[in-house]
């Protein structure tokens, strides 16, 4: 419930026929490699990345359903697993509490 806004709450089916979505996966993967200049050193690596890519197609479709005001799809990170993506492209140390030694910004007027 922490992450749910009841004003916006809506129930939709989020899983449908995955086979339809993956039908053109090979074509999408070829376009993806060309667009982002991706190449893989071995056939095993290529096949593995294609598998990851197909998983990410399903993930993008799920994201599209759960985040309908944005457009989700194939990005330059589509051949990375979630953990590879986190390890290589994120990097904020886990921390939520505000540091006690940091000053708090003064409250500013927000009217007029």
């Amino acid at each position: 419930t922490d992450d749910t806004n009841t004003d916006d709450f809506i129930i939709r089916q989020v899983v449908d026929n995955e086979e339809d979505h993956l039908l053109n996966a090979e074509h999408h993967f070829t376009s993806f490699k060309s667009k982002f200049s991706k190449s893989y050193s071995t056939k095993e690596e290529h096949d593995y990345r294609f598998g990851v890519f197909k998983s990410n197609l399903i993930k993008a479709k799920l994201h599209q359903k759960l985040d309908p005001t944005a457009e989700h799809g194939i990005t330059k990170f589509s051949d990375l697993t979630a953990s590879e993506f986190r390890r290589q492209f994120l990097g904020l140390k886990k921390r939520l509490r505000l540091p006690a030694h940091a000053q708090k910004a003064p409250i500013l007027p927000t009217t007029n």
Binding site: D2, D3, T4, N5, D8, F9, I10, F36, N56, K59, A60, H63, L66, D67, P68, T69, A70, E71, H72, G73, T75, K76, F77, S78, L80, A82, F85, R86, R87, Q88, F89, L90, G91, L92, K93, K94, R95, L96, R97, L98, P99, A100, H101, A102, Q103, K104, A105, P106, I107, L108, P109, T110
Partner: protein, 231 residues
């Protein structure tokens, strides 16, 4: 507060950068905030060095063991502001170019072009965040990047996104009053976020995320910085 505001239109934001395969988002968020503050203080937009932070900033959070800035292995913007206070400032991008790899520190203090006089954390209140953005320049923020791997365009407003799993440092550069959300039959106000994954990600390197309920924790860790000097 204005309904729409964008520091890009006012010349306070440098072009989108690319961190490469290196967990240095915290350094880009830090320099982005200081670039804006420096612009407000001097009227000059200067691209600042992330590599200096990657190589030289190893400041630790005194309250949490292991929360030390460590180059491509991650860091925190507040630690980096503390480093900039201690070191005297940061040099220009061209004087200490980004490599996307950890390296030995080659900081030359004589080339410092921008420095921090003060930094503060902003309360978890969207009106205050907007007010600080307008008054002090772009803000360094943490965000849960779970939805960003597949994001292409539009206003991201996921139904579910953990607020407490902040794992990415970005820069808040503006806000808009609303982009129409057909499925929700209403206008959704949004934040404009500068990312550091190059211009071939998102909306020319930018991300829009809806305002109003701390979506993906975007309001949870917000820092504002003031620039001190320029050469």
């Amino acid at each position: 507060l204005p309904e729409d505001f964008d520091w890009r239109e006012k010349g306070a934001v440098t072009p989108v950068k690319d961190q490469g395969s290196c967990g240095s988002c915290w350094a880009f968020s830090t320099t982005g905030a200081l670039e804006g503050a420096h612009y407000l203080a001097t009227g000059k937009l200067v691209s600042l060095s992330e590599q200096q932070l990657v190589d030289c900033d190893h400041v630790c959070d005194p309250e949490q063991a292991g929360s030390c800035d460590s180059g491509c292995n991650g860091g925190l913007m507040n630690n980096a502001f503390e480093y900039l206070l201690q070191s005297g400032g940061v040099v220009q991008e061209k004087d200490y170019a980004y490599t996307g790899r950890d390296g030995s520190c080659k900081f030359d203090k004589s080339k410092v072009v921008a420095s921090v006089s003060n930094f503060s954390v902003v309360s978890l209140d969207e009106e205050q965040i907007a007010a600080n953005l307008v008054k002090n320049g772009p803000l360094a923020v943490g965000i849960n990047a779970a939805w960003m791997q597949t994001y292409m365009s539009g206003v991201s407003c996921p139904y579910v996104c953990a607020k407490s799993r902040l794992d990415h440092g970005v820069l808040l550069v503006g806000f808009g009053k609303g982009a129409y959300a057909p499925i929700r039959l209403k206008e959704k106000p949004y934040w404009i976020v500068k990312n550091s994954w190059g211009q071939n990600w998102g909306e020319q390197g930018y991300y829009k995320i809806c305002r109003g309920r701390n979506v993906c924790g975007v309001d949870s860790m917000v820092s504002t910085v003031a620039a001190a000097q320029s050469n």
